[in-house]
Amino acid sequence: MKINYQGKERETAATTLGELMAEQGVDAAHAVVELDGDVLSPGEGAERPLAEGAVVAVFKIVTGG
């Protein structure tokens, strides 16, 4: 299925947000994810289903301040 990930069209085998994060190597506990306009706090929404054309944006949370 094709989704928009970080502004680019991408093919994915993932059917949930959690699977997509694992596929992309994103540490979901340390990321803010925007899925089709919904903002999910770190670690939230792993069970959310991905639909064809889903728009996903990830902002990683890393140490430093």
Binding site: A29, H30, V32, F59, K60, V62, T63, G64, G65
Partner: protein, 203 residues
């Protein structure tokens, strides 16, 4: 009447900046410098929480001085902020912020600033602050040198402004560490984002 440190403000700008109550979670590289910029800009109400004390290694980027080593950061920061504007009203909390005490700590605040160091604490901020339905400003990916143009602000979902490249963390394979120029850019951008929210400008 004392017009404070920013005589360039219009009456409307001054009124808005002096009415806003800003909560800052952390008083390290981000929080101390963000607070300094906010006070210079004309903000007069800050709530600042941080359990830590000033260490020598903090002087590479944080708004503290050598004679303040060993003191609680919130009290040392207050002293420095009052040297800019003696009329600033500060709520100073030398506590460790948690999911449990976060909402009560910042109940009176209009805008919340994430100014922690560790990724775990930043994640805690988001989990705690998001349900409070207030504008939020955070930073992630600000370690190392150079790449100034990659430290960008982005709006996430209409209520969160996230600053940084989202990649450059402390440590990792690149062995990055936090230094004043890049952390300072992010802290200034956090303050600029807060002011833009207060004054109704594009972030």
């Amino acid at each position: 009447m004392d017009e404070g440190p920013n005589p360039f403000l219009t009456e409307v700008e001054r009124s808005r900046l002096e009415s806003a109550r800003i909560g800052i979670a952390g008083a390290g590289g981000l929080g101390s410098n963000c607070a300094m910029h906010l006070v210079r800009a004309g903000v007069t109400h800050l709530t600042i929480a941080d359990f830590d004390v000033v260490a020598e290694s903090n002087l590479n980027r944080q708004f503290f001085f050598r004679n303040q080593i060993g003191r609680k950061k919130v009290y040392a920061l207050a002293e420095n902020l009052w040297r800019i504007n003696v009329n600033v009203k500060l709520v100073l909390l030398p506590i460790r912020l948690t999911r449990e005490n976060f909402a009560a700590t910042f109940a009176d605040c209009d805008i919340l600033v994430e100014a922690f160091d560790s990724a775990d604490a930043k994640a805690m901020f988001l989990a705690s602050a998001t349900p409070l339905d207030k504008p939020m400003v955070m930073a992630s990916g600000i370690a190392g040198w150079g790449h100034s143009a990659e430290v960008v602000p982005r709006m996430i979902g209409g209520r969160l402004i996230a600053i940084g490249d989202g990649e450059s963390g402390v440590g990792g394979e690149a062995g990055l560490y936090p230094v004043s120029p890049r952390v300072g850019i992010a802290a200034a951008m956090e303050a600029n984002a807060v002011c833009s929210i207060i004054l109704g400008h594009q972030f």
